[in-house]
């Protein structure tokens, strides 16, 4: 059996579903961030696989590089905000912040 586009797409779809599951079920903010990273990696895998097997130009791979950088930047900002939240509430449980509601 040769590994083709379909296999990569199925793997990416599985990663996406795992990420979505983690994002919706985790309460720990870092857990949610890990779910986000899974979904972003699924997107990267899709882009590279489509670029290699279907399109034949490298713009998909360049896009994947940009998305890796974006993921890093997003994680940096998110973790800074987690630290700030932790200093205030001594937890990073996203459910514990319930002063804003209505």
């Amino acid at each position: 059996m040769t590994i083709g586009l379909t296999h990569y797409l199925i793997l990416a779809a599985l990663l996406f579903c795992c990420g979505l599951f983690v994002m919706t079920t985790k309460r720990n903010a870092v857990g949610i961030l890990i779910g986000v990273e899974l979904v972003l990696n699924a997107a990267c895998l899709n882009l590279v696989a489509f670029s290699r097997y279907r399109v034949g130009t490298i713009d998909g791979q360049i896009a994947a590089l940009f998305i890796i950088v974006l993921a890093a930047a997003e994680a940096a900002v998110a973790i800074a905000i987690f630290v700030n939240y932790y200093r205030m509430l001594a937890t990073i449980d996203a459910d514990k912040g319930d002063e804003l509601r209505g």
């Binding site: 997107a43 882009l47 489509f50 490298i58 896009a63 940009f66 905000i81 700030n84 205030m88 804003l100």
Partner: protein, 570 residues
């Protein structure tokens, strides 16, 4: 795999000139970072640099507007064969640059008042001036690029450039517990939405074999023509294939990201929490600029679905013509718009916090603006109705956004003055404001009546042009009348909660509450907004409409290189 040969690519001077407003913004960001190192960290320094940058940016925008007066100009075209532009400069993007520079100037003004007010009451008030402005200006840069991007990769980067600084801005008051909680909620929602959006973009890339929006538009045109020929001959309809399923999935995922930026239903949960927890000047910025950029992006994406043939296609019965991409997307946007403004208005009714009321009101207003995106810019050669040559939905949104900027800056600015004075943003803080600070209460009342949409204020003008555009387009899309009815009913609902604030200011009073003297700059800001709103409702009623039409893109505005040959026609 054909790897393009490496070459050095320098954009031409003309191309660079098209994007001078963005370059001015980048220069301002650098100056805000560097100059305080030389002259010391006083809060006035970065604010002055930002205001200066806004003025230079407005001049640059004015220069660009002359260049794009005849039609859209594509920029940043790589020299390799078949390459397509990355960015678009047209009258619509020029309007956004204008709006964002104006908003930046007003927010800077508000921020300066806030700093002086806080320094007066709180000696430990230490709010990073340069950091605040770097974040603010960077998010403005992202919002400008959002509206002018022609490539899905540039689009993603623009959205993230707008979003990441916004998350940090919400937490910019580092001693605020509410700010920390709001920022956490914002970043969690935002990261989730943008991850799903990026996955959707990867699906669209697979479906069309390109990241370029103009090539995708051409591919959709081709697909539409194919569908039309199939359906017209009453051959079996074969348009629900795997490729179309991937297209719809990708588009839906992309839509999640856009809807998050607009804070429309079902991605609106973050909005009231973030707006309440963030510092008020940041709330003002998010409620105006972030939403405006999201609506602009939505209009751009929807206008992709504009088909180049006559509408509805003459050889098709209307029921079949409805089965096209454009109609489906327009109906979906219309449904979301109607639900968004209804949910926003109904949820605002039971709020007790003024910033939350205004947050829900901004959700409702985003809903009104989304209604304009449901107008498919389509001439109706078949039915003989003379169609406008400009994009009617864009014109309505341009008029609406300009008024919305003034209404929201006025309302949030007045709220900020009260919050800084009393330390709370609960409705009770506004008790007897008509006696305690008449020159804050009066402009606030004007802005609130304008938000309702009562004549003779700017809000009425904006709604008038919006409903007019919807009504005119209903000749070809009869279901737009539903949106008109929904908008009118919602206006009636919204009257209740806006008037509640006004009643609290003028009809309730508590003698124990002292009068206070608001800072002069703040009174000037909110009064200026109120006066311009009055003028927009009376003297400038028709000039606003004319100017908005002149700034809207042409119906078929596609960038020059849009019809390059497809690498993968489908």
């Amino acid at each position: 795999m054909n790897v393009p040969t490496p070459n050095t690519w320098l954009p031409s001077a003309d191309e660079l000139h098209l994007f001078s407003p963005e370059f001015v913004l980048v220069g301002t960001i650098v100056a805000v970072l560097v100059v305080p190192l030389l002259v010391g960290r006083r809060p006035e320094v970065p604010a002055l640099i930002a205001v200066l940058g806004c003025f230079v940016g407005l001049v640059a925008t004015w220069a660009v507007s002359a260049q794009v007066a005849d039609g859209p100009q594509a920029g940043m075209v790589p020299p390799s064969a078949g390459a397509t532009p990355m960015l678009l400069a047209d009258r619509f993007s020029v309007f956004y640059q204008l709006l964002l520079f104006l908003a930046l100037g007003l927010i800077t003004w508000l921020w300066l008042i806030g700093v002086q007010k806080r320094n007066g009451t709180d000696s430990t008030a230490e709010r990073g001036g340069p950091e605040f402005f770097v974040l603010l200006l960077t998010s403005a840069l992202g919002m400008m690029l959002m509206v002018s991007s022609l490539n899905l990769l540039v689009l993603i980067i623009a959205i993230e450039t707008a979003s990441l600084p916004s998350y940090a801005l919400v937490a910019s008051d580092k001693r605020s517990r509410l700010g920390a909680e709001a920022a956490l909620k914002y970043v969690m929602f935002g990261a989730t939405a943008s991850a799903i959006m990026i996955y959707g973009v990867s699906l669209l890339y697979g479906r069309f074999g390109t990241l370029d929006l103009s090539v995708i538009a051409s591919a959709l045109d081709a697909r539409y023509a194919e569908l039309r020929s199939t359906v017209a001959t009453f051959a079996p309809v074969t348009h629900v294939g795997v490729t179309d399923a991937v297209f719809w999935l990708g588009l839906a995922a992309l839509g999640v990201g856009i809807i998050f930026k607009i804070a429309a239903v079902p991605m609106h949960y973050w909005c009231p929490d973030v707006f309440q927890g963030a510092p008020t000047e940041v709330t003002t910025w998010l409620s105006v600029a972030s939403k405006a950029a999201g609506v602009g992006l939505l209009l751009r994406i929807v206008s992709l679905f504009t088909v180049t043939g006559p509408w509805p296609p003459p050889n098709l019965p209307p029921a079949v013509a409805g089965h096209t991409y454009a109609m489906t997307v327009a109906v979906l946007v219309g449904i979301l718009a109607a639900v968004t403004c209804t949910v926003g208005n109904l949820a605002a009714l039971r709020q007790e916090n003024v910033k939350r009321i205004l947050a829900y009101s901004s959700i409702a207003h985003a809903g009104y603006m989304m209604m304009a995106a449901a107008i498919i810019a389509a001439p109706s050669a078949a039915s003989g109705v003379s169609a406008p040559t400009y994009n009617a939905g864009m014109a309505a949104v341009i008029a609406y956004l300009f008024v919305y900027l003034l209404m929201n800056v006025g309302a949030f600015g007045a709220t900020a003055l009260v919050v800084w004075q009393t330390g709370t943003d609960h409705l009770s803080a506004f008790t007897g404001l008509g006696r305690r600070a008449p020159w804050v209460a009066l402009p606030l009342a004007v802005c609130l009546f304008s938000l309702v949409g009562l004549p003779p204020l700017g809000g009425f003008t904006a709604k008038w042009y919006l409903l007019l555009a919807l009504g005119k387009s209903a000749a070809t899309q009869p279901w737009l009348w539903v949106l008109v009815v929904v908008a009118v009913i919602n206006t009636a609902i919204s009257l209740y909660y806006y008037v509640r604030i006004i009643r609290q200011m003028y009809l309730r009073d508590d003698a124990a509450l002292p009068a206070f003297r608001p800072p002069g700059g703040g009174v000037a800001l909110v009064s200026a907004c109120a006066i311009i709103l009055l003028l927009l409702g009376t003297l400038w009623f028709s000039p606003l409409g004319r100017r908005a039409q002149a700034l809207a893109s042409d119906v078929y505005a596609r960038p020059p290189a849009a019809h390059a040959e497809l690498s993968h026609p489908m």
